[in-house]
Amino acid sequence: MLGGAVLALLGACAPPEPPAPALPLDPRVSMAPDVLLASGSPLVVPQANGLQRISLVLANPSAQDRPVMHRVEWFDAEGQPWPTNLSSPRRMTVPRFGEAFVTGIAPHARAVSFRIVIERDPLAPGR
């Protein structure tokens, strides 16, 4: 009983864990819950040739590098997926206390919408 009381007191004195970064609210960004990165809304820049260029910044507030896999999926005006090697998954490491950018370009002028998917790299060391 005394031991339990001591443990309860020690637990009460323990510093609280830092809150996990909030999941992105932009529906165009799909981030797995275990990625633990912060991001905003993607920047969309239409080019003169009709192709959209996109950019999304990922921020890592933790003290550990975060290896992730990301891909950009493209859709036409009807919401149908646009198959392209531009949507192939790519590996990236967001450095500790740093930022990294996910960039992409539309495979065709008719690929007008997109979704950025970010998940933890399943083959990274220490997984």
């Binding site: 003169a48 040739n49 192709l51 392209t84 531009l86 370009i105």
Partner: protein, 211 residues
């Protein structure tokens, strides 16, 4: 003097057999399964696999389209021929694993179309020239035989090289760096229209092979 029990030939053979049976019983039984290329979680080797070619091709096409160099000033599409693609790695690679992916994406972008009638070692598809041998043949309707002067010469040429460099690291590890070097040349001027190098690096055990 009789031999000790452990040195008798019969007992040694029995012990060896039991050891082999025991080890085989512990061996992992790996069943054959299909891999979904869109969700490939399989282990990675030190050599190049399909995922690496996809990543390299995607990065190359993204760079090509982002550069704006493939936007033809007069509108329409550029015609591209495939030139020398060198494999400078220790692996047996068909460079078409990279080139075909690039061609497909460029075609689907509406910016570039590839000619199969002109190639470094002859036409990729000789049928375009072969079909022209039907001119004048009375067996074939000449209405849909390809006429003279209809083939389109290429404006651009795609060439490149895949390099490999191995480096031994401390602690029994090794690093392999692959470089996908690509160039698009404007045939009329002979100038490099677009260039890029896509690196893919891997780190693994010294016991893994990259050939």
């Amino acid at each position: 003097m009789p031999l000790p029990a452990f040195s008798r030939p019969g007992s040694l053979a029995t012990a060896a057999l039991l050891a082999v049976l025991g080890l085989s019983a512990c061996a992992e039984n790996i069943a054959t399964t299909r891999i979904d290329p869109h969700a490939d979680r399989s282990e990675m080797g030190m050599g190049l696999d399909a995922r690496d070619f996809e990543e390299a091709a995607g990065a190359a096409v993204q760079s090509m389209l982002s550069s704006g160099r493939l936007d033809k000033p007069s509108g329409g599409r550029y015609v591209m021929a495939i030139s020398r693609m060198t494999n400078d790695t220790m692996q047996r690679i068909d460079t078409d694993q990279l080139v075909k992916k690039i061609r497909v994406d460029l075609l689907n972008s509406g910016k570039v179309v590839t000619t199969t009638a002109v190639g470094l070692d002859g036409a990729e598809d000789p049928m375009a020239m072969r079909a022209r041998e039907l001119r004048g043949s009375r067996e074939f309707s000449q209405a849909n035989v390809a006429g003279r002067g209809r083939m389109v010469a290429p404006d651009l040429s795609l060439s490149g090289k895949i390099l490999q460099r191995n480096v031994r690291l401390d602690g029994g590890a090794q690093r392999v760096d692959y470089y996908f070097q690509l160039t698009i040349t404007e045939i009329a001027s002979g100038l490099a229209f677009w260039e890029n190098e896509i690196p893919i690096s891997k780190r693994g055990s010294n016991r893994s092979v990259s050939w």
